[in-house]
């Protein structure tokens, strides 16, 4: 089974609930949803905050159904509060 390395970068409220750095190995073609489920499995205190997060890869907001074909950084975006 081919694996990929997924790094996690967290912003906002959820950043305080997860350790840094955070990275996992997943099977190629896993979904972002699989990654998020694994994170809350490891860190259940982050479950509620995770549910409010949008996700990004690079400069794109992506859905939880995005298929991960190669190693990358998944960015967790908590509810925003600029200004």
């Amino acid at each position: 089974m081919q694996t990929i390395e997924i790094k996690i970068e967290a912003f906002g409220e959820i950043e305080r609930l997860l350790p840094k750095p955070l990275q996992f190995e997943f099977a190629k073609e896993s979904l972002i949803l699989d990654v998020l489920n694994h994170i809350v499995d490891c860190y259940p205190d982050a479950t509620k905050a995770m549910d409010k997060c949008a996700c990004a890869i690079g400069e794109d907001i992506v859905t939880r159904q995005t298929v991960l074909n190669s190693s990358c950084t998944v960015v967790l975006l908590s509810p925003v509060a600029g200004g």
Binding site: G12, E13, R16, K52, A54, A81, G82
Partner: protein, 180 residues
């Protein structure tokens, strides 16, 4: 047109924007400058720290500017946002709109501020004089609300404690939608 980052780690200044002289068709300028106040919900604020996910924030601010420019048919809309540690009275955000008439300038500037505050991945951490700090509760920008955790069967060992809540954009928005 001047090119500059919309997310800035240095003090904000109006000097960064294109001059009104470049837009002779315009008859008005509206400017909003958001500054750090020394209190929040009865607590004394010492300082703020803004962070951003800049790759998306830069793109989103530019998209918002363009959409508002098209919507209100104004000549110029720009927003810049500060990140890093800010003291009381420092400028956190500047929005500016040039338009032929005042009403469009007001509307464009107001909407630019509102949208950047509520849609762009920027976070505000408040540091209080009593030594505590917290992230200001904000607006959820998640749009794939049907894909809640554990709602699919892709994991070999799903969580038993998983929640199956659903929510819509802005459901988690807890701060007031005003120009503060």
């Amino acid at each position: 047109m001047r090119e500059f980052s919309r997310v800035q780690d240095q003090a904000l200044s109006l000097d960064i924007f294109d001059p009104i002289q470049s837009f002779p068709e315009c008859g008005g300028i509206d400017v909003f400058i958001g500054t750090v106040r020394n209190h929040h919900e009865g607590k004394s604020v010492k300082a703020l720290k803004y962070t951003s996910y800049t790759p998306v924030a830069e793109k989103m601010i530019r998209d918002i500017e363009q959409e508002i420019k098209d919507k209100y048919q104004v000549s110029y809309v720009r927003v810049i946002h500060r990140i890093g540690y800010l003291d009381v009275s420092d400028s956190a955000i500047i929005a500016i709109a040039y338009a032929a008439h005042r009403r469009e300038a007001f509307q464009a500037c107001e909407e630019a501020v509102e949208r950047v505050k509520h849609e762009v991945p920027i976070w505000k951490e408040e540091f209080f004089t009593d030594g505590t700090s917290h992230y200001v509760e904000g607006c959820c920008i998640r749009k794939d609300t049907t894909d809640n955790l554990q709602s699919k069967k892709h994991l070999s060992s799903p969580l038993s404690k998983a929640e199956s809540t659903t929510h819509q954009h802005h459901e988690h928005c807890a701060h007031d939608h005003t120009h503060d």
